[in-house]
Symmetry: C3
Subunit: 267 residues, 3 copies
Amino acid sequence: MSRPVITLTSDFGQGVFVGVMKGVILNICPQARLIDLTHDLPAQAVRAGALTLLQAAPFFPQGTVHLAVVDPGVGTSRRAICMHSRGSCFVGPDNGLFSLIMQQDPDAAAYEIINPDFRLEPVSSTFHGRDVFAPAAAHLAAGARPGMLGPALPDPIMLTWPRPKVANDELCGQVLLADRFGNLACNIIQKELRVFLQDRPARVRLGDLVIKGISRTYGQAAPGEPVALVNSWGRLELALNQGNLCAHLGINPQNAYGMGIKIGLIR
Amino acid sequence: MSRPVITLTSDFGQGVFVGVMKGVILNICPQARLIDLTHDLPAQAVRAGALTLLQAAPFFPQGTVHLAVVDPGVGTSRRAICMHSRGSCFVGPDNGLFSLIMQQDPDAAAYEIINPDFRLEPVSSTFHGRDVFAPAAAHLAAGARPGMLGPALPDPIMLTWPRPKVANDELCGQVLLADRFGNLACNIIQKELRVFLQDRPARVRLGDLVIKGISRTYGQAAPGEPVALVNSWGRLELALNQGNLCAHLGINPQNAYGMGIKIGLIR
Amino acid sequence: MSRPVITLTSDFGQGVFVGVMKGVILNICPQARLIDLTHDLPAQAVRAGALTLLQAAPFFPQGTVHLAVVDPGVGTSRRAICMHSRGSCFVGPDNGLFSLIMQQDPDAAAYEIINPDFRLEPVSSTFHGRDVFAPAAAHLAAGARPGMLGPALPDPIMLTWPRPKVANDELCGQVLLADRFGNLACNIIQKELRVFLQDRPARVRLGDLVIKGISRTYGQAAPGEPVALVNSWGRLELALNQGNLCAHLGINPQNAYGMGIKIGLIR
């Protein structure tokens, strides 16, 4: 039988917080495999965390426990959630982190983590990653069922996202995320793009920048030139071939969603 | 039987040094579990490393080997140390990195690492993490006893820290560390705070900034407002709710201790 | 029998890309041990990646699979390569990443990765790390032979490097890499240095900076003073004892090679 996998996602950066959560897990479930998804989410960026998990979780084996901590409300009355979907579990604060995955699975089930047997006592008021979420994830990996952590949670917090809109023959979207290469991914997905374009030629607009055509690869643009393509997660993305579009446009990649940057697809 | 755990802590950042130490370990102890504590310590910051280990090590299973390399004296006459405390081992340069843990354990024992059988030959003069400490840690994880590495070390280097002092009804402390959220932790611990306040109301002072009361959570302050609380390691901490106090005050988080920032607790 | 080791090297930084590759690997080879070498290579810096692998790979157990993705040509006609050398495998884009290792092993063999059974379908045009290289590495770790991935690749891309030259009693080299401490390593290796100096005293020159003598350790210089030594990879390196030479000289460490910085060794 293969060993249980726990992924870890947070905005904790490179400090010691993540290592300590791993120590807590190994005390409870010594056989767990620990895989970092990312700890470089912008501080307290629940939306960036939710999008990251939506894109990454499907690439992990069924049975994986996904532990995620982006938790601006730690110590307040916000609840702790265990969400079960398609054979995998998601553990973290109930602030919408897992809501994009829940929206795609009508059979998903949520539980509130309240059972004191699955916590580290005393629970601090500022580091539930260590005291609540890591122990819960470790117990799940060691064989506990989600329902053992607490009662069903009927009303988990759900995030809503801006939807692309059609106006004047333009599909108007919005930037969701920037990656470390300075590429900008938006809320227009491949299917919407196809339905809108119907094989017609396209231009993509971001402020004064206009890009002709949807390329298949970054390399179809000359080095340093902008390019639009459908990225590896199925989203419309803008990039600079062998360059950094964020730096080129003066956009802070840590806050790309919060800036409300419009992307227009013109047919 | 569960597999031996080795944690790794350093100021090596995200480069290849840590990966190479892991390769060396796997050659000697293929079954070791390798857990990164942090490699983002400020360069050559022995004190920050010592505090990090003091706070994090207790969360790991007994029997863990903690390998730590913050080593400004590499290649000089500074000694290599293996320190044994409460069933766990600590391996690194003898510069005080493990001295805070030693001070808390009267039964701790230290050994000088000199046995050439537990090194990678030839030993370089600049990367003992690879050539001395990683092999020693791997042999310990594979079953070697600390005394096999070399003779007892009767006088390991010990760090001293500034202690909080009472003056004019104020408990005067000092900032020890900043975390990635820009929160500032100081040398006043929960017990000292309680003894000083005796349930009286408190104010916390950092330069011109004065915070009323000790909160239980960050969220008790309005977003963007400063807050003082006892953090998850039991230390008095100053923060900005949903903000970055270091950025707000123009403090470089990489050097928070070195700046000698005073924290005053007023009753 | 010990579990197969896969190392991961990339310019992906701290985002989610690396975690997703690990998920893909665990689906194919659940028993693989996953070790990060570094993901902090400068974006699209194939040369820095090649040098990193040359230095680090020898420290890993025979049989290790080294997965490396620095891939400015992703989605273009650039080929995917599996290179076998001294019992270990190297998987990534065919752009020279493994060519420094190949040059040192006359028995090295290269294969083009084209077998669709060892890919994740559909293959995206922008993330072959996930869709091509991670699956190939996982299958190799699970027991596939390199030749099963595709036919022999007779003409892999090879990198060439500037060689040190002697002129006017000076050995003229060039900076190859900067590390996180701001130390500068150059293309002059220990053997060349010995042959050139023949035990005579030396000076090392970088622009206006002149350093007398080759030290054995950083600590032989006073704190804050420059020092030249042979580093732990056998290369001539310039550093500032307990300081940062890059910062001191205004050199961007992310681009140290690209700046063509000359190092002169004068006897």
